[in-house]
Amino acid sequence: MEQAIEINALQKSYGDTPVLDNFDLSVPSGNIFGLIGPNGAGKSTLIGILTGLLDYDDGQIIIDGLPLTEENELKIKRRVASVLQPPLLFEHFTSNDFLHYICDIYEIPSEGRQPKINSLLNYLGLQEFEYAKINKLSAGSRKKLSFCAAILSKPNILFLDEPFESIDVISIGRMKTILNQLQNKGVTIIITSHILEIVENLCDDIAILHNQEIIAYLDSESRKELQKDASLSEIFESYIEIEKPQDDVLNWL
C-alpha cells in the first residue's frame, strides 16, 4: 500500500530531554489516521515537525513521496495543511480577509473564490462572523475558521491537532462530513485527539504514542478484533500501563 507519511529512526529532543527517540511510523495514503497518547507523549511535537514548524535532530521523513529536505520543503508545504491547537490565525484580520490571504498564498484564483469561502463559512455556522475581527471570536469559531483555511488550500495531507475541542455538536458532525468527503477524494488525514469516541468512530488506523515511541499500531483489521470485547478507551489504558494508584490515596478529599 502506498504510504502518505513514512518516518524512520526520528530523533527529537528539547535540550537533554528526548521527546521522540528512534521513532518509526507509516501512515497509509487516503487513511483517516488517529494518533493518540497521554499528555506530553510528543503528539504536538510530531505534528510540529511534520508541518515544518520544528526542526528535528536525526532520522528520515518522507511526506507524500518526497523526503523532507530543504530542497523539497516548499513542495511539501504546498501539499499539506494543518489545524493546530491552539489554532494559528491572523488575529487582526476579519475572517473574510484572512481566508482571502490564505487563498493568495496558495495561489487560488480570485475568480470564484468568494462563493467557496461563503459556502464553507455558512456550512460551519460562521457566516455572521465573516466581517468580524478574528481576535474577537470564541475558541470554537477560531478552530472552525482555522479548519476552513486548511480546507481551502486543497491539501493532499491534512494534520488536525485536537480539531474538535471547544466545538459544538452540530459543527462536529459537519466537520466529520467534510473529512469523509476529503477522504473519498484521496486526502490523508492525521488526527490527534483526547476524545477517543470520535477517534474510534472516525479513524481507520490508530497509533498509540507513549514514552517517545509508538507502542501499538491498530489497523482496521486488528481494531475489529480487539474492539469486540473492549472500547478504544479500555484498549488505550491497557497499552499505556500506567500504574494504578491505590484507591485510598485521595481519602483526604
Binding site: 514548524l53 493546530l84 491547537q85 491552539p86 491572523f90 484580520f93 496558495y106 468580524a132 474577537k136
Partner: protein
C-alpha cells in the same frame, strides 16, 4: 496577600526579561533617579532662590510677583509632566484576573491592583516631589493635612482623567491631533518669544503680572499651590480637608468599581468591517507580507499617537532653532532632530518586528513560500518608508538649510545616523522580542516601551552630538571615519539580511512556540 500579589507580578515581569531587556531596565532605573533628582532639585531651587541675597542682587527684576509667577508656572509644568508620564495602567488585568479563579476575592484584588499602581516608582516620584514642593511653602502646621490630602486627590484625579483621556483620543483622534498641534505650537512659540526678550516682555507686562497670577491660581498647578500658600483660617482648612477627603473617597471608590468591572467583565466588543480600507491599501502598495506588517503597526492607537509626535516635535522646534542666534547649537540640534524623524519611523517598525504578529509567524512558516523571502519582503517594506523620508529630509536640508554644512557632509552624516540605528534595531528585533499587548485596558506601547524610548532619546542626542557638532577643520577626518563605518555597517546588515531566517530560528521561534502554547 498584597505582598504575594506584588511578588507574583514582579516575578512574572522578571521571568520574561532577556539580558537585553534587563540592561534596559537598569538604564530606566538610572533615568528614574536622574528624573527624581531633577524634579526635586528644581522644586527646591524655584521655591527658595528668592531667599538668597546673591541671587537677588544679580536679578534685580525678581520681584515677589515675578517669583510667584515662576512658581506657578513650575507648578503647572510639574502637573503636566505628572499627567503625561505617570504610569496608571500597570494593572496587567488579563494575568491578574486569573487569580480570581484561585480564590482571590474580587474586592481585595481590585483594591490591591489600584494600590499597586499607586506604588509605581514614577507615581511615587511625582507625588513625593509635590509634597516637598508644597510643604516647604506652607505657613502653618495646620496646612500639612490639607497638603497631604490635596496631593492624594491630585493623583486620584490624574488617574481618572488619564483613563478617560486615552479613551477620548482613541475615538476622536483627528480632532485631538489638530488641537494638540495648535495648542502646543502656540504655547512653545509664546514661551520662546518671552524668553528671547525676557526683560522687555517683563517690563511691558509687569503691571499685568498680578492679574495673571490671580488667573493662574485657577489652573491645576495653581490650585495645588494655593493649598500651601493661600491665607485661610483653621475653619476653612478643615472645610477644605473634609471636602478633599470626601472627593478622595469618591474617586478611589470609582477606581475600585471600574477595576472590579474590568476584572469581571473583560471587553468583548465585536465590530463589523465590511471593507477594511487600510489593509487593502497597504496590501496593494507594499505586498502581502510587508502590507500585513504595516497594517498591524498602524492598527494600534499608540502608534498613531507616535506618528503625531514624530511630526510635531520638529514642526515646533525647528522654526524656533532657526531663530536662535547661537549657530553652534542650531547646527547641532536641527540636523539631529531631522535625522531622528526617519529613525523614529524605523524604530516603530523594526525595534520589535516580530512582536506584533507573534505566534502568527508559525502560520507564515507553514506557507508554501520561502520563509526567508517572506522575512526579506517584510524587512524591505519596513525600511522603504523611513528611507524615503530620509531622502526627502536630506534633500530638503541640502536645498533649504545650506548653513548646516556641505552636501557631502550632510549626506554622509545622515546616512551614518540612519545606518547606526538600523544596526541597533536589527539587534533589537532579535534580542528584544516581546509579545505585543493589545488589551483594551492598556495602551502601553507594544513595541517600544518607555524604557527603550528613553534609552533611544539618550542615544539619538549622544550620536547627534558626535556626528553633527561643528568641529572646524577636523570635519574631514570625521567624514572619513563615518564613511568607513557606513561601509562596515552596510556589509554587516547585508550579511544579516541573508541570515534573517537563521536568526529568527535561533532567537525568536522557540519563544513564539512557547507564547503560542503549542
Amino acid at each position: 496577600m498584597f505582598r504575594k500579589l506584588i511578588y507574583l507580578n514582579w516575578s512574572a515581569f522578571l521571568a520574561r526579561l532577556t539580558n537585553f531587556q534587563a540592561f534596559l531596565v537598569i538604564g530606566y532605573i538610572i533615568f528614574l533617579l536622574i528624573l527624581f533628582s531633577n524634579l526635586l532639585g528644581s522644586a527646591l531651587v524655584i521655591v527658595l532662590f528668592d531667599h538668597n541675597p546673591a541671587v537677588i542682587s544679580q536679578l534685580p527684576w525678581l520681584t515677589s510677583e515675578i517669583h510667584q509667577l515662576i512658581t506657578l508656572i513650575f507648578a503647572n509644568v510639574l502637573w503636566i509632566l505628572h499627567f503625561s508620564f505617570t504610569s496608571t495602567r500597570l494593572l496587567n488585568m488579563p494575568e491578574n484576573r486569573k487569580l480570581l479563579a484561585f480564590g482571590y476575592p474580587v474586592k481585595k484584588l481590585s483594591w490591591h491592583l489600584n494600590l499597586m499602581g499607586f506604588l509605581h516608582p514614577l507615581n511615587l516620584i511625582y507625588n513625593f516631589t509635590w509634597l516637598v514642593f508644597l510643604l516647604i511653602q506652607i505657613k502653618h502646621l495646620m496646612y500639612v493635612p490639607v497638603v497631604l490630602a490635596v496631593v492624594l486627590l491630585n493623583y486620584a484625579i490624574i488617574y481618572s482623567i488619564k483613563h478617560r483621556f486615552l479613551k477620548v483620543i482613541e475615538k476622536r483622534f483627528k480632532l485631538i491631533v489638530f488641537s494638540a498641534l495648535f495648542v502646543i505650537f502656540g504655547t512653545i512659540q509664546a514661551i520662546a518669544i518671552i524668553s528671547r526678550e525676557f526683560e522687555y516682555v517683563v517690563a511691558q507686562y509687569l503691571p499685568g503680572i498680578t492679574t495673571l497670577n490671580s488667573y493662574l491660581f485657577y489652573t491645576p498647578g495653581g490650585l495645588l499651590q494655593y493649598t500651601a500658600t493661600g491665607e485661610y483660617s483653621l475653619g476653612v482648612a478643615s472645610a477644605i480637608y473634609g471636602f478633599t477627603a470626601l472627593l478622595i473617597f469618591l474617586i478611589f471608590r470609582d477606581h475600585f468599581l471600574k477595576t472590579r468591572e474590568g476584572l469581571l467583565q473583560p471587553i468583548q466588543e465585536r465590530k463589523i468591517y465590511k471593507k477594511n480600507q487600510l489593509w487593502h491599501f497597504l496590501k496593494k502598495w507594499l505586498g502581502l507580507h510587508a502590507g500585513k506588517f504595516y497594517y498591524y503597526v498602524l492598527s494600534h492607537s499608540y502608534n498613531r499617537l507616535q506618528l503625531l509626535t514624530i511630526a510635531l516635535i520638529p514642526a515646533v522646534y525647528i522654526p524656533l532653532l532657526l531663530q536662535l542666534n547661537n549657530n553652534y547649537y542650531s547646527a547641532l540640534l536641527i540636523p539631529t532632530m531631522l535625522a531622528a524623524i526617519p529613525v523614529a519611523l524605523l524604530a516603530m517598525g523594526m525595534a520589535n518586528m516580530y512582536g506584533y504578529e507573534n505566534k502568527e509567524f508559525l502560520l507564515h512558516r507553514q506557507f508554501p513560500s520561502s520563509f526567508e523571502r517572506q522575512l526579506k519582503e517584510r524587512f524591505l517594506g519596513i525600511i522603504v518608508v523611513p528611507l524615503l523620508i530620509f531622502y526627502l529630509i536630506t534633500t530638503a536640508e541640502i536645498l533649504y538649510l545650506p548653513q548646516l554644512g556641505s552636501v557631502v557632509g550632510i549626506y554622509i552624516a545622515n546616512t551614518f545616523f540612519f545606518a547606526c540605528f538600523m544596526l541597533v534595531f536589527i539587534w533589537s528585533s532579535f534580542y528584544y522580542y516581546k509579545k505585543a499587548d493589545y488589551t483594551s485596558f492598556s495602551f502601553k506601547h507594544p513595541i517600544i516601551s518607555q524604557k527603550v524610548t528613553f534609552m533611544m532619546v539618550f542615544l539619538i542626542f549622544g550620536l547627534g552630538y558626535a556626528v553633527f557638532a561643528p568641529i572646524g577643520n577636523l570635519q574631514i577626518y570625521r567624514l572619513y571615519v563615518m564613511g568607513g563605518l557606513i561601509l562596515a555597517i552596510s556589509v554587516y546588515l547585508w550579511r544579516n539580511m541573508n541570515v534573517l531566517v537563521r536568526a529568527f530560528d535561533k532567537h525568536i521561534l522557540h519563544q513564539v512556540w512557547d507564547d503560542a502554547g503549542q
